[in-house]
Each structure stands twice: as structure tokens, then as C-alpha cells.
């Protein structure tokens, strides 16, 4: 066993007392060239078909993200946390899951939900302010997007442990922000998962900032993947803008988890190109030079260069993908033109499964108030 993170996932029980590679693991470099040697960490480039699929997903995801940001700027959504620039992380990770697996996302991960097949209108219900969550958790095997940081990681561990107790070979993958790694819940989730050996994959999206706070004020560790060591869990430090690497590593982690090998920590190093949310002002805490630097490390362009150089991305395929993306954007605009019919009385209907007299009284009060208002309006 060496100390610089070389490990092949053929090994069933990975050695866990090793430091992740300090240089992020990478399969494609920024120019779109396949990488060989040390920095691949023993992983190999997914086949072209897989890469084309990842490419398509990233292009569609970005089109969606851009569309929603535009709609938000028009005031059509209460808020939208964009993942522009993080497509390598988001798609690489979520594409590694089977349909039976569970995803535990944060507010940042709408494009991962989209990639899981959740409809734009369902994803956006929360951000447009209709209801706190708009999709079916069980149908999509996707938890509600979590806002309280790191809390969802524990849910992922619990669900994975329950499945394991039931001999149900599914995996739970959760996203955690670089800032959120500072929360106690991240620690407890890592530890419970490691002690219980739950089939959980932790994907830390290190996008360099927690709102305005840069990574250097969040940790003094050389990499966030280093944290895995303290839990006896394997950790991988990955170039998050290399979707091929993200896919390869998380796929291996998912397979390992499914096979009973326990949890894995995957850090994807990436960057949030957009502001934190629409109410953020990133000029206060980062330079446009820095943003430009990262724009030149775009995850989609990188894969595109590779696919083009391999002759895999034909013009007709490209057109096809663009069409799909535009269709999705149009559908997203469309769904946002329709104002949802909201029934204020529903406020009382889901708090408890067992009816409560006091809530029924309050519901009746609101009903009367609404009726009176309607009457006034009618007069």
C-alpha cells in the first residue's frame, strides 16, 4: 500500500489508512486529453458511449440551469442556487446511481434531480415558492432538497443502514458542500457510516466557497478528502470538473458500497461560476480574474474536446443534444408560465397523519376568512 492515494477498486476491502492523493485524481486534462499514469489513481476512462451520455446530460443540465437563473432574474422564482460550472461533479456522481438507489441532495443540486428524471415543474415548486417540495420522494428515490446544511448526510446514512439491515442492495449517495463539511452533522454522518459500514457515498462538492467564505477559512486540511482517514473510510480527491473521473470514482464507490464494502468519501474540486443565489453579490468576495480562471476549466468544454478529438461527437449528435436541451428549456419556461393553483387550506393537511381538533378549528377559521374575502371581492 502506498501513501499517495493509488488504489484500485478491484480490491474488495480497500485499505483505509491512506492519504488521498494531494493532486486531484483526473482522467481527462483540461485540454480534453486522456491522462495516464499516477494521477488516474488506477481508474480508467469510461467508454465513449458512457461519456457521450454524460456529455448529453451535462449539456441539458446546464441549459436548464441557465434557463432557471434567467427566470429567477425575471423575478419568477423566489430563489435559485445555480450549479453552473459544477456539472462535472453533479452529473458524474448522480449518473453512477441505479434507479433503485437513493439520492440525498441539497438546494444546490437541482440539475442532479433533473438528471434523475424529475420534471422541471416538480423541482421548481420549492424555488418558486409554491410548496417546500414538489416531487415524489419514493417514486424518484430522491429525498427533498435539504437546506439545513449537512443534515441530509445523516438521513442518507440512516436509509442506507436500514436497507442493509433488510439485505436490500441499494446505495444512498449524498452531496455535501465544502462549507457544510464544517458542520457537526457531517462528522456524525461520516462516523456513523464508517462504524456501521453503511452503503453510503459522500460526494463533497468543493466549489471553493460557502456563500462568501473561501475554503481556506473552512479547513486547514490539505484536501477535504483527507477527512476520510479519521473515520477509517477511503477518501478520493478528484478533479470535479472532469466528469469522467467523477463518474469513474463514484461508480466504483457505489459498487463497493453495494457489495457491502462500506462508505466512501469523494471530494470533487470544482467551482460555482454563478452567484450563491440571486440575492448574493459575489463581487464582494472574489475577483473576476478568479472566475475567468475557472471558466477556462469548464467541465463541458473539456469533455467536448475529448469527444470531438475522438470523432465521437458528430454534428448531428450535437444538434440532437442541443435540441433536447432547448426542448427542456422551453418546457421549463412553459411550466413557469402556469401559475400553480394553490389551496391555502392545504396548509393544515399534511402536518400530521392523525387529525387534530385544534388544526381543524384553524382550518375552519381560514376557510371562513377566505370565503369572506371572496365575497368582498365579489361585491
Amino acid at each position: 500500500m502506498s501513501h499517495d492515494g493509488h488504489m484500485s477498486l478491484n480490491v474488495e476491502h480497500l485499505p483505509t489508512r491512506t492519504l488521498p492523493a494531494e493532486k486531484p485524481l483526473r482522467l481527462l486534462d483540461n485540454a480534453g486529453h486522456a491522462v495516464s499514469g499516477e494521477s488516474t489513481g488506477g481508474f480508467s476512462l469510461p467508454d465513449v458511449e458512457t461519456l457521450l451520455d454524460l456529455y448529453r446530460k451535462m449539456v441539458v443540465a446546464r441549459r436548464f440551469d441557465v434557463q432557471v437563473t434567467a427566470l429567477t432574474k425575471q423575478g419568477r422564482l423566489a430563489t435559485y442556487p445555480s450549479a453552473f460550472g459544477q456539472e462535472g461533479c453533479e452529473i458524474g456522481a448522480v449518473a453512477s446511481l441505479d434507479a433503485v438507489d437513493w439520492l440525498f441532495p441539497t438546494y444546490r443540486d437541482s440539475i442532479a434531480l433533473l438528471t434523475r428524471g424529475i420534471a422541471p415543474g416538480e423541482i421548481l415548486q420549492s424555488f418558486r415558492g409554491d410548496w417546500h417540495n414538489g416531487y415524489d420522494q419514493h417514486a424518484y428515490r430522491t429525498a427533498a432538497q435539504a437546506t439545513p446544511l449537512a443534515t441530509q448526510a445523516l438521513h442518507a446514512v440512516g436509509l442506507a443502514h436500514a436497507a442493509r439491515l433488510r439485505h436490500d442492495p441499494i446505495v444512498a449517495l449524498t452531496f455535501i458542500g465544502d462549507g457544510a463539511t464544517s458542520e457537526g452533522d457531517t462528522h456524525e454522518a461520516f462516523n456513523f457510516a464508517a462504524v456501521w459500514q453503511t452503503p453510503t457515498v459522500f460526494v463533497v462538492q468543493n466549489n471553493q466557497y460557502a456563500i462568501s467564505v473561501p475554503l481556506a477559512r473552512q479547513t486547514r486540511a490539505a484536501t477535504l478528502a483527507d477527512k476520510a482517514v479519521g473515520y477509517g473510510m477511503p477518501g478520493f480527491h478528484v478533479d470535479g470538473n472532469d466528469v469522467a473521473a467523477m463518474y469513474a470514482v463514484t461508480t466504483a464507490a457505489v459498487e463497493r458500497a453495494r457489495a457491502g464494502g462500506g462508505p466512501t468519501l469523494v471530494e470533487g474540486v470544482t467551482y460555482r461560476i454563478e452567484s450563491h443565489t440571486n440575492s448574493d453579490d459575489p463581487t464582494r468576495y472574489r475577483s473576476s480574474r478568479e472566475v475567468e480562471h475557472w471558466k477556462r476549466r469548464d467541465p463541458i468544454e473539456r469533455l467536448e474536446k475529448y469527444l470531438v478529438s475522438e470523432g465521437a461527437l458528430t454534428e448531428s449528435l450535437r444538434a440532437d443534444i442541443t435540441d433536447a436541451a432547448e426542448d427542456l428549456a422551453a418546457a421549463t419556461r412553459e411550466v413557469m408560465t402556469v401559475e400553480a393553483e394553490l389551496d391555502p387550506l392545504e396548509l393544515f393537511d399534511h402536518v400530521y397523519s392523525r387529525p387534530r381538533a385544534a388544526l381543524a378549528e384553524q382550518r375552519a377559521f381560514l376557510e371562513a376568512e377566505l370565503a369572506e374575502a371572496a365575497q368582498e371581492a365579489g361585491r
Binding site: A144, A153, H155, G158, D185, F192, H350, V351, R354
Partner: protein, 339 residues
């Protein structure tokens, strides 16, 4: 499976003396036997049987996949229980003392309480959080807090507290059967209170208050450890020619307006008793809502006999903090009885 169904399925046992701790352990055992989705975990619940021995013997009976010791982290315990409940298990977890549930406050308030509403009922969390609660056991600091008002004032939580072994059994079974998350508070000072009991037993539904002693002049509203205090006060009051009705609230959220209102309208006077500090304690809600709903039936303000507005005292001083039957009677004396 409901407690009643289980009751039917078992042979009638003849009454034996049982402590509340024993009744709770039996409820867990029976629930685990009846439904293999019920799992139990927390700190020291395995070989040790919990610091109050409530889970004594359960690991030996059901094995480590059904009941196990978790790492020492309360947010971790509650947060993973959320995930397990999402999956379809019915976790019953233990917080060792009220004060040691506080690290889990965010998971409780932001997730346990809100998950069902957030997801429009698509995700229910059938989980039970057992909290050995309150004081009067000579515990050192942080071992005698009363946390009920934090939970009861959080929409989305159901909060119950039994005062006797029969209720302890029946309400815990019902809590485990409930599709909603339940904060199940167990008054530590009553763990060793004994009662003759034939298990399984089904008492009143866990969301109802119960008149445990009838009276005509005053209604005492109590829960958990103070039910005994109220009953003592009622006994002592006979000498003073005062007929006291005692209501065991049992359910803190929801509040049983019906049972309580009926009693208060009958007696026209009421007082609520709890260990927690008075200011912002659960008694505030009781006094406020009972007054709101029965104002013109009240001959006097609703009194609160509660702990002082101070952190829970050290063992040698706790007796001065806790409500006693004497304090209850002294409080009733402050009313203008001729008004």
C-alpha cells in the same frame, strides 16, 4: 398493528407488580416481536440495557440487528433515524437525558417535525424518540432538565408523557404504531413506581387526557411526575373540605381541550403543575388556552405551580425547586375564594 390487536393475540396475563421501567421494556419487547420493522438504538441500550435499564435483555432476545449501541452523537442518532424511517423501518431511539437531546435539536425541529408537511405527506416518519425526562432523582447538573415545552411548541411533533406503568406500556405501543414521529417522555422519578399490571394493556388513546380523580371545586392539571403531586394535594385537600379533580394530561401535543375544558367548566377553577420553570413552560400554553376557551366559566385565574425561573438546582437544593403538594395547596389559597 395496534396495541389492541396485539392484546387480542396474546394470552391474558394475570396482574403482576411492574415498574414503569419494566412496563416500557415490555412495550418495546412486544412491539419488536409484533413488527420486525421496529428497531431500537441509542447510547448504551444494548448490553447495558440503557442507563435506566429500560431495554434490559432486549439485545439478548432480538440480536444486534434489531437493537444496538450507536456511536455517541445525538444528532447522528436522530438524523439516521429519519433516514431509517424514510426507508420504512420504525426506529425507536433513546436520548439519555433531556439535556442530551439538545445536540439533536436541529434534526428534531427542522426535519423530524417538518418532513411530512414538507413532502405533502409523501414521506411520513414513524419514529419514536424516547427521552427520560425531568428531575427529582438527585441527579447532578444537566440530568434533570424538563425539555417538554421545546418539543410541544414545535408544530409537527407529537409529545406524550405517561405517569404510570399501564399508560407507559399502552402509550409506548401506540407511539410505535403511530405513523407520525412521537417524542415519548419518560419521567425518571417514576421509573421505579410500581403497579399491578396484566400485559398487554390498552389504556386511553395517547392523545387524550384522563380524569384520574373526580372532584368538584378545583381542577388540577398535571402530567408525568406531577400527577402524583396532584393526587397528594387532592388527598390533603379533603381535610380542608376541598374537592379536587385531577386530570392527567398524558398528551402535551395535541392538547385535549375537550377533556380539560369539561373538567374546568365543571369546577370553574384550575391550576397546572409542572417541574419545568414557569416562564414559558408548558403550563403557559395550558393556562392561556384553557382561559381563552373557558373564560366566562372561570371564577379565578388559572394558576401555575411550577419550578422557579432558574436552571435546575443541584441535588441538595432540588427539593426547594420542585412543586409539592403543599405548594399546590398554598397556591389554591391565593385565590379570592369568595369572588
Amino acid at each position: 398493528m395496534t396495541a389492541t390487536a396485539t392484546a387480542g393475540a396474546r394470552a391474558e396475563a394475570s396482574p403482576t407488580e411492574l415498574t414503569m421501567a419494566g412496563a416500557l421494556g415490555a412495550a418495546l419487547r412486544d412491539a419488536m416481536a409484533a413488527d420486525d420493522r421496529v428497531v431500537v438504538y441509542g447510547e448504551d441500550v444494548g448490553p447495558l440495557g440503557g442507563v435506566f435499564r429500560v431495554t434490559d435483555g432486549l439485545q439478548a432476545q432480538f440480536g444486534e440487528d434489531r437493537i444496538w449501541d450507536s456511536p455517541l452523537a445525538e444528532s447522528g442518532i436522530i438524523g439516521t433515524a429519519v433516514g431509517m424511517a424514510m426507508y420504512g423501518l420504525r426506529p425507536v431511539v433513546e436520548m439519555q437525558f433531556d439535556a442530551f437531546s439538545y445536540p439533536a435539536f436541529e434534526q428534531m425541529v427542522s426535519h423530524v417535525a417538518k418532513m411530512r408537511n414538507r413532502t405533502k405527506g409523501r414521506v411520513t416518519l414513524p419514529m419514536v424518540v424516547r427521552i427520560p425526562c425531568a428531575g427529582a432523582i438527585g441527579g447532578v447538573e444537566h440530568h434533570s432538565d424538563s425539555s417538554e415545552s421545546y418539543w410541544a411548541s414545535t408544530p409537527g411533533l407529537t409529545v406524550v408523557m405517561p405517569s404510570n406503568p399501564a399508560d407507559a406500556y399502552s402509550m409506548l405501543r401506540e407511539a410505535i404504531d403511530s405513523d407520525d414521529p412521537v417524542v415519548f417522555m419518560e419521567p425518571k422519578s417514576r421509573y421505579w413506581a410500581r403497579a399491578p399490571l396484566a400485559l398487554p394493556v390498552t389504556t386511553a388513546p395517547m392523545d387524550r387526557a384522563v380524569v384520574v380523580r373526580e372532584g368538584t371545586d378545583v381542577t388540577l392539571l398535571a402530567y408525568g411526575p406531577t400527577v402524583r403531586t396532584a393526587l397528594e394535594a387532592a388527598d390533603a385537600a379533603i381535610d380542608e373540605g376541598l374537592s379536587i379533580e385531577v386530570v392527567d394530561l398524558r398528551s402535551l401535543s395535541p392538547f385535549d381541550d375537550e377533556t380539560v375544558g369539561a373538567s374546568v367548566r365543571k369546577t370553574s377553577r384550575a391550576a397546572v403543575i409542572h417541574e419545568a420553570a414557569q416562564f414559558g413552560g408548558y403550563g403557559a400554553e395550558v393556562a392561556a388556552r384553557v382561559t381563552e376557551r373557558n373564560f366566562h366559566h372561570l371564577a379565578a385565574p388559572i394558576l401555575r405551580i411550577a419550578g422557579f425561573d432558574i436552571p435546575y438546582p443541584s441535588p441538595k437544593l432540588e427539593e426547594h425547586h420542585l412543586p409539592t403538594a403543599d405548594r399546590v395547596l398554598a397556591a389554591l389559597d391565593t385565590w379570592e375564594w369568595d369572588a
